[in-house]
């Protein structure tokens, strides 16, 4: 007896598979399991070394189980080779399974598999052939494909349906891997659709679909030469018309797998061909109406029908049918079906907008669905369906949705609501209300530019200022933790606070708010820890504004602001100090400084650019900054051409007094100068804010201050003269010397004592050649009636030659619908200013 045989006979039989499984499962801890596995692996390795033929399959089976648990099993690969080379079916069965599980195409060893495969593909036992085909279908590499393609092509022509269908799928797999090999399979594919066997038919449709996907030529070939479409239509018709076939029936539907596969191929064929699409129309409608939809399987078929109708060049009626099918899906109890419906509707909504609109109510209902992915799709679809007609109703629903929606959607939902509101709002008030609601509900999730956009919108809507201020106040008193909302609200209260009490907007309740209440709320925001820095900066500035707008709260406001003089926040501290100064030394300037903001024209421009109003707007913007460009200036506003211009010219001479906006070169005609000055406030508003962040708005507003402080530090000899007084327009000038020699600063103040307001007020001045004049931005352009407000402007004069100052004035404004121009002259400047 050989040593080996003795050894073998006393070796215990390898553990049975189920015993191993049982043992592993009863392990209490991961460590226990590991030790069981390691012990078994060692035994298996031993067994492999001993070339044990009898139990090899058992050992490999155990190894496969161990592999599934996640342990390494590569030492079993060679053993699989040996198994598949064995004549026994049991060995081959496990061997091929092992190949499929342990090998992938990147292993070198599986090239050895190719040989066994070749042999087994032509085995007399069909089940062994089947094993080989199955394995090829899983692990074929490019080389394997090329090696065995010929063999597979032969097997497709086999008379045995069992082998035929498997070979067809192998061919399908080969073509996916190596598209070049497709050619050789085309001839044998042709006749496959004549088969009766469902398995063969099904796999053949798979193969043909893949061929058509991969090669448009082949598709064309099939469509034209083989008249594929009519044939498929026939097959499908037979399927649904034929009686009950128990073998292929699924819940009353005849072979749904085959139906869906055929529909998919039809889709591919009809996509680019009108004639093919027309041939399919009838059968599609027929299947759609005949399919029993009591179970999921019916829905699966209808779903494929919808996809096909949408994917081919179908007639309109059919498309409407498809959308209606989806609409019915939406009402189904099964959430999977609702999900599918919403998903598909999202894909077709652009193309079939009107059809989808009809199902809007159902879609909106899905916003309340318990499944999050359904809610998400319903939301996206809802936004796609908003138009000018349904915007009010839709917004109501979407706002309600926003209130309760999941965190991950909030940002998207906010942006979309704001965008839709901008596009479709029926009127300004509704627009503002809607954006305000968004801010209140989900303010912390909105994008940064919503704040400035809303402020812009509000400032444009003059008629609603009081209403808005009131709404803002109410919202703020409820909850000021949402920063964007707080910022907008605070700004509005600051700008329009005084209108709050006289509001008479329809269907609003009478106001029950006092100035004190408002100040209290703003103070709360200012002092609250939850408010971020920007909000606080807004708040302090608002309080300041309110000091001139409100009548009774000045001392209180002053007190609040002073506290922040010692704030650790540098911004707040600076503002507090500056404002406090304003209260003390320069109280007379305070109202002027705190006039209403001019309309933010830059924003309007950027908005109109977005709305594609073309290049003009951009040039205009460029024109504002490039002050030399006279043409642009002329296109903006037509200043009334002064016919008295020549007399001014005569009087003062040719000298150019330089306004802020220096026009280019040389002796500039005074007329032109005045023309420059007269164009628009924006030119003079060199400090108009141009950025979109709210903070910068205030920066723009604040920046005139330094120039004022300069004055304030100067000689305090102030003298006040009346520069002009006629037709209820009074222009006064307050002059003082500046710290710099020869510079005098003049504060111009204009008031309107008539009973009607003056708007678009523009003040211009001209001085003799020997003077240099700098005209700064006016505080505004509106003169309220009855001296209720004023416009102030600062002029700096440099009298280098120390001659007597003379000044020509020109003022234009609109009143009662008429444009009025006034001219004047000032000769009464005190001499001592320049001594």
């Amino acid at each position: 007896m050989k040593k080996r045989d003795i050894f073998q006979s006393i070796m215990p039989t390898p553990k049975r598979l189920r015993d191993l499984i049982r043992e592993i499962r009863s392990a209490r801890t991961a460590a226990d399991e590991r030790s069981v596995v390691n012990k078994e692996c060692a035994a298996i390795r031993e067994s492999f070394r001993d070339e044990d033929n009898t139990y090899r399959c058992r050992n490999v089976a155990k190894l496969l189980y161990i592999h599934m648990l996640g342990y390494p099993a590569h030492f079993g690969q060679l053993e699989c080779m040996k198994l598949i080379a064995s004549p026994r079916f049991t060995d081959k069965r496990i061997g091929y399974l092992g190949c499929m599980l342990l090998l992938d195409e990147r292993q070198d060893v599986h090239l050895l598999v190719t040989n066994s495969l070749k042999n087994d593909l032509s085995h007399q036992t069909q089940y062994i052939q089947s094993l080989a085909l199955c394995t090829l279908g899983v692990i074929c590499s490019a080389e394997m494909c090329r090696d065995l393609a010929g063999e597979i092509e032969k097997m497709i022509k086999s008379a045995n349906a069992y082998i035929k269908k498997k070979s067809i799928l192998c061919a399908y797999r080969i073509i996916r891997k190596v598209p070049d090999l497709m050619e050789m399979f085309i001839p044998s594919t042709r006749s496959l659709l004549n088969e009766k066997n469902h398995g063969v038919l099904f796999t053949a449709v798979c193969l043909i679909t893949e061929m058509c996907e991969k090669s448009p030529d082949t598709l064309h070939h099939f469509r034209k030469e083989y008249e594929l479409v009519p044939q498929l239509v026939r097959i499908l018709k037979n399927l649904i018309m034929a009686g009950y076939s128990p073998e292929h029936d699924v819940s009353g539907v005849s072979d749904p797998f085959l139906q869906v596969k055929i529909l998919r191929l039809l889709r591919r064929l009809g996509k680019t061909d009108l004639e093919a699409s027309e041939t399919m129309n009838d059968i599609l409608a027929q299947v759609a109406t005949n399919t029993d939809t009591s179970k999921n399987v019916g829905h699966a078929i209808l779903y494929e029908i919808v996809l096909t109708i949408m994917g081919i060049q179908s007639e309109a009626g059919l498309r409407v049918l498809a959308v209606n099918i989806l609409g019915r899906f939406l009402l189904n109890n099964d959430k999977n079906i609702r999900y599918i419906a919403l998903n598909t509707l999202l894909r077709v909504v652009q193309a079939d907008y009107n059809a989808v609109q009809r199902h809007r109510t159902t879609i909106v209902d899905c916003l309340k669905d318990p499944d999050i992915s359904i809610r998400k799709r319903a939301m996206e679809l809802s936004f796609a369906l908003i138009n000018a007609n349904n915007v009010r109703g839709m917004m109501k629903e979407l706002l309600h949705f926003l209130e309760n929606c999941d965190q991950e959607f909030k940002a998207d939902c906010c942006s979309n609501i704001v965008m839709s509101a901008s596009k479709y709002s029926p009127n300004k008030r509704w627009h503002i209300d809607t954006v305000l609601k968004v801010l209140v509900m989900a303010g912390n999730h909105v994008r940064g530019d919503v704040v400035s956009m809303l402020i812009q919108l509000i400032s444009e809507t003059k008629t609603l200022h009081g209403y808005i201020a009131l709404q803002m106040y109410k919202a703020l008193s409820n909850d000021f933790t949402q920063q964007p909302m707080a910022q907008v609200a605070i700004w509005c209260i600051g700008e329009y606070g005084e209108h709050m009490f006289s509001t008479n907007v329809e269907d609003e309740e009478p106001v029950d708010v006092s100035e004190d209440d408002v100040v209290k709320v703003v103070e709360k925001v200012l002092s609250n820890n939850n408010s971020n820095e920007i909000t606080k900066e807004y708040a302090i500035t608002t309080l300041m504004k309110l000091s001139s707008r409100f009548t009774s709260t000045v001392p209180r406001i002053r007190q609040i602001i002073e506290v922040y003089g010692s704030s650790t926040n540098v911004e707040l501290q600076q503002r507090s100090v500056e404002y406090t100064n304003l209260f003390s030394k320069f109280d007379h300037l305070r109202p002027a400084l705190l006039e209403h903001m001019p309309l933010l024209e830059v924003h309007a421009r950027s908005r109109s650019v977005m709305e594609d109003e073309g290049q003009e707007e951009e040039n205009l913007l460029g024109g504002v900054e490039a002050t030399n460009n006279e043409n642009n200036i002329n296109t903006m506003i037509n200043p009334p051409v002064p016919t008295e211009g020549s007399s001014i010219l005569d009087l003062i001479g040719n000298g150019p007094s330089k306004p802020d906006t220096t026009s280019g070169g040389g002796a500039v005609d005074l007329l032109d100068l005045l023309g420059d000055l007269g164009s628009t406030p924006t030119i003079n508003n060199n400090t108009t804010p141009t950025q979109s962040s709210g903070n910068n708005l205030l920066d723009g507003f604040l920046s005139p201050e330094p120039s004022h402080t300069n004055q304030m530090n100067g000689d305090s000899s102030l003298c006040k003269i009346v520069a002009f007084s006629r037709n209820d327009l009074l222009v006064e000038m307050m002059c003082e010397k500046d710290t710099e020699p020869n510079i005098v600063v003049i504060n111009v103040k204009a008031t309107n004592s008539s009973s009607t307001p003056m708007s678009d007020f523009v003040f211009q001045a001209a001085v003799p050649k020997s003077f240099q004049m700098q005209l700064q931005s006016p505080s505004g352009t509106n003169l309220p009636a009855s001296n209720q407000g004023e416009v102030t402007q600062v002029i700096k004069i440099n009298n280098t030659q120390k001659t007597q100052l003379k000044m020509r004035l020109k003022m234009t404004y609109c009143q009662n619908g008429n444009t009025v121009t006034e001219l004047g002259e000032v000769n009464t400047f005190p001499q001592h200013l320049w001594t």
């Binding site: 599934m68 026994r88 049991t90 799928l169 398995g199 796999t203 699966a300």
Partner: protein
């Protein structure tokens, strides 16, 4: 179909069939990710989810999750039917199949799957034919290792 995974509620893998070539490492990573994703779903949620550029369809039968990854053009509702057909086949074969059957006879579960799907596509739409093929092959196996011998030799 790109792959099918069967796993328990504790995340233990019971079967994995891959129809695309990936390394072992990649397969493990994908499996881990998907198992976590699917086990994290609540009962009210629908059976479909999007993952990378694939659609994942899953369904729970008793204590086992059946999870398939399909391509964007594939029909999700039909995939549910495919899963159901597979479960029906196992049920017929094992007689009221439960998770334990699949654990202790995992190789048979694979054999069944290989008669139903090939290359990621359905190969036989008739339940009867699939079961017939399996029965025939089991018979072949039994004939090779006669009954008395079966427990000691063969797979056991």
């Amino acid at each position: 179909m790109q792959f099918m995974l069967l796993f328990s509620r504790q995340g233990k893998l019971r079967l994995q069939k891959w129809f695309v070539a990936h390394t072992d490492k990649v397969k493990k990573k994908i499996t881990r990710e998907l198992v976590t994703l699917v086990l994290g779903r609540k009962p009210k949620m629908c059976s479909f989810l999007e993952w990378k550029d694939l659609k994942v369809v899953y369904k729970r039968y008793a204590s086992l999750y059946f999870c398939c990854a399909i391509e964007p053009e594939d029909n999700e509702l039909l995939t549910l039917e495919i899963i159901h057909r597979y479960v029906e086949l196992l049920d017929k074969y094992f007689g009221s199949v439960c998770e334990l059957d699949i654990i202790f006879n995992f190789e048979k579960a694979y054999f069944m799957l290989d008669e139903f799907l090939l290359g990621g596509e359905v190969q036989e739409t008739s339940k009867k034919n699939v079961l017939k093929a399996i029965a025939a092959q089991d018979l072949l196996q039994e004939e090779e290792t006669p009954q008395g011998f079966f427990d000691d030799h063969g797979l056991g």
